[in-house]
């Protein structure tokens, strides 16, 4: 996994609540057996005016210029600012794959759906939960200032605003360590191989029907 320590980047506001994983990456793209290449189809139904299918040349498709992702001022954004319950719906990891492939490394919102939140950490994306007041303030600052950037410092758990103001955020220590060091979960778990074997043996002894 790509390590994540500090991200300094443009912020794109997606002013909607309950953005579901079907919206993040529609089902037809889930037929791929790869874990890369989903970026051009991120938010496909909002982003393009036609119906996207796998294998299409996306550069020739008609674009919805009203959708925030297509606005020139947000090109190259690395930080996504959004509303409540982002990532609700299916467990498809294609959602964080598409976000990461597009270039987003940090998502800031008041709340996230559980499975999506978890999937982000497995893919080098940092989801940050902030209180409603800070999120609201960020929305207005992003809207009012073209080129609005934030500096997200994961080791210090701080978001630095252009005006010098800092917002601190919380993150699970274990997940933070994995992100900062780009650690592979499976490798970590397999360090406890003997404990798992012992547990498994006891479990089968006590529950012989399993």
């Amino acid at each position: 996994m790509k390590p994540l320590t500090e991200i300094n980047g443009l912020v794109m506001p997606l002013d909607r609540s309950n953005v579901d994983t079907d919206a993040i990456i529609p089902k037809q793209f889930l037929k791929s057996i790869k874990r890369t290449g989903f970026g051009p189809n991120l938010f496909d139904e909002w982003r393009y005016l036609d119906v996207g299918e796998p294998g299409m040349d996306n550069s020739n498709r008609p674009i919805n210029t009203e959708f925030v992702l297509n606005q020139p001022r947000y090109q190259g954004a690395k930080i996504l600012l959004t509303r409540e319950n982002f990532g609700c719906g299916s467990s498809r990891e294609h959602a964080p794959w598409a976000l990461e492939d597009f270039g987003f490394r940090v998502i800031i919102g008041p709340s996230f759906a559980d499975i999506f939140f978890n999937n982000c950490f497995k893919n080098g994306i940092l989801p940050i939960v902030l209180d409603a007041e800070n999120v609201e303030k960020l929305f207005s600052e992003v809207n009012e200032n073209e080129g609005y950037k934030l500096k997200v410092d994961l080791p210090n758990q701080a978001i630095k605003k252009p005006n010098g103001e800092n917002i601190n955020f919380t993150v699970d220590m274990f997940r933070k360590q994995c992100l900062v060091e780009g650690l592979d979960d499976i490798g970590i778990t397999l360090k406890y191989m003997d404990e798992i074997k012992q547990f498994e043996e006891n479990r089968r002894k006590n529950n012989p029907w399993l």
């Binding site: 609540s17 079907d22 529609p26 057996i33 874990r35 299916s90 274990f174 778990t189």
Partner: protein, 469 residues
């Protein structure tokens, strides 16, 4: 000893180790695998030179991409075909048992698991699909996971996670005739919202839950994820135990005795403490119909579409306006005035035999309205299909003008050829009414099987409780 919730018991009995932070290694008894979320996990194993930790813990079936008609011709979409073939190939290579296309046991993974006794009470069950919460109906700790975790569970038989909070949804009284587990699920989501259960495992309890069949409990737990909860749970009772007796992968003989004895403890202790507690009265619940693009946008059949002007939260108001625009509906419209183009009876929420019986009973001797372009019945598994055919349900549906299909996820998420065209409106027994879920530009109204069947005949939504009067 401290009183424990059902979730506490399931969690505690599966913790291999826990660090000072609370991050635990949770042992996984069972993993169910399907074609969409597994290819990258198997590829990961191969790249790292790893093997499944315990091969027999894993069972697979293809469901999301499979066609529901013309099975003899295989899958015509080459990309979908490759994905299903990749599952076959991976299962063969890693020696995982698979119920492939053409096997009567094939079907929607959440129907197949319990049907085969692959899911059992007290187990931890994972699957790369959010509706894995379904299996919680049997007091199994069942959770949907992403592909990285599919690989993690394959390689280590564990997941790394922190314990969730305990939430109790207590449903007192009994559901009126014609009001089903689906209506209850939608009413709960309407009350607590799609993030109401975020960070929690929801246990459903109370008189109304005891009164539900195990299939009804599966419908309810299936929708726990639509309330934000990764897991739904119902305690074990006689019905649970009866359900597993004689199932192919369920224990038998002495092991059956041992198992049922242990399962009897799978309930929350008296006095167990929940972090959140919600109470509903079942007798007040009416058939539910969603009007928007989130399952929480739901009202009773006798109500009208809410007025966004009455909503004080600006973000919610914006969501309502955007949903009404997408759904092409006006505020204050009576739900019973909404006309539909298609009907879908199926999905991991409502494709089991009881669902089909209820729907068939309603359409028997009736005809699908002329204005309805397509009415589909898609059984949840080959075995559900075969049982329905033994009971003659297929003939009832076909005679009424429904299409009787082969098992799969079908129009719930439209990964195969079954879908809504842009602008079409569907009465659907599935679980999500998100934009584009059933096809780009398609408009979904989530309902129970009885409500979908009645809407197929009437051409618009009607109150099914009138049918039973």
């Amino acid at each position: 000893m401290t009183a424990k919730t059902l979730y506490d018991k399931l969690w505690d009995s599966h913790v291999v180790r826990q660090d000072e932070n609370g991050t635990a290694l949770l042992y996984i008894d069972r993993q169910l695998i399907h074609e969409v979320t597994s290819p990258q996990a198997f590829e990961g194993l191969r790249l790292a030179g790893r093997k499944p930790w315990r091969v027999s813990a894993n069972k697979a079936t293809a469901d999301h991409n499979v066609p529901t008609t013309g099975l003899e011709n295989g899958i015509s979409d080459p990309i979908a075909r490759l994905q299903v073939e990749t599952l076959d190939k991976n299962c063969k290579e890693f020696e995982i048992e698979e119920f492939g296309m053409g096997d009567i046991r094939q079907g929607i993974v959440h129907v197949v698991g319990p049907e085969q006794g692959i899911t059992l009470p007290g187990m931890t069950v994972v699957c790369g699909d959010s509706h894995t919460s379904t299996h919680g109906a049997f007091a199994a700790l069942a959770q949907g996971i992403g592909t990285s975790e599919v690989e993690h569970a394959l390689a280590t038989q564990c997941l790394l996670q922190k314990k969730s909070k305990n939430m109790l949804v207590e449903v007192n009284g009994s559901l009126p005739i014609g009001v089903s587990a689906k209506d209850l699920a939608l009413a709960i989501i309407g009350k607590i919202g799609t993030a109401g259960g975020t960070g929690c495992a929801i246990e459903f309890a109370g008189e109304a839950i005891s009164g539900l069949s195990v299939e009804g409990r599966m419908t309810l737990c299936n929708m726990a994820i639509e309330a934000g909860a990764r897991s739904g749970l119902v305690a074990v009772d006689e019905k649970t135990i009866d359900y597993f007796n004689g199932r192919p992968f369920a224990p038998s003989g002495d092991n059956w005795e041992l198992a049922t004895q242990a399962w009897g403890n799978l309930h929350s202790d008296k006095g167990a403490v929940f972090d959140k507690h919600v109470i509903l009265n079942a007798s007040e619940i009416k058939p539910q119909v969603t009007w928007g693009t989130s399952p929480e946008m739901v009202v009773s059949i006798n109500e009208s579409i809410p007025d966004p002007d009455q909503e004080t939260n600006p973000v919610k108001q914006e969501g309502m306006l955007s949903a009404l625009k997408y759904m092409d509906l006006a505020k204050n419209t009576l739900i019973s005035e909404i006309r539909i183009d298609k009907v879908f009876i199926g999905s991991c929420t409502n494709s089991r035999i009881e669902d089909l019986r209820v729907a068939a009973n309603i359409v028997k001797g009736e005809t699908v309205a002329k204005s309805v372009k397509l009415a589909l019945v898609v059984p949840g598994s080959g075995l559900v299909k075969s049982q329905a055919e033994k009971e003659g349900l297929d003939k009832i549906f076909i005679k009424s003008g429904f299409e009787w299909r082969d098992p799969g996820c079908s129009m719930c998420l439209a990964m195969n050829a079954d879908r809504l065209e842009s602008g079409e409106r569907c009465a659907s027994t599935s679980n999500r009414n998100f934009e584009g879920r059933q096809g780009n530009g398609g408009r979904t109204h989530l309902v129970s099987p009885a409500m979908a069947a009645a809407a197929a005949v009437a051409g618009h939504f009607i109150d099914i409780t009138d049918f039973y009067k």
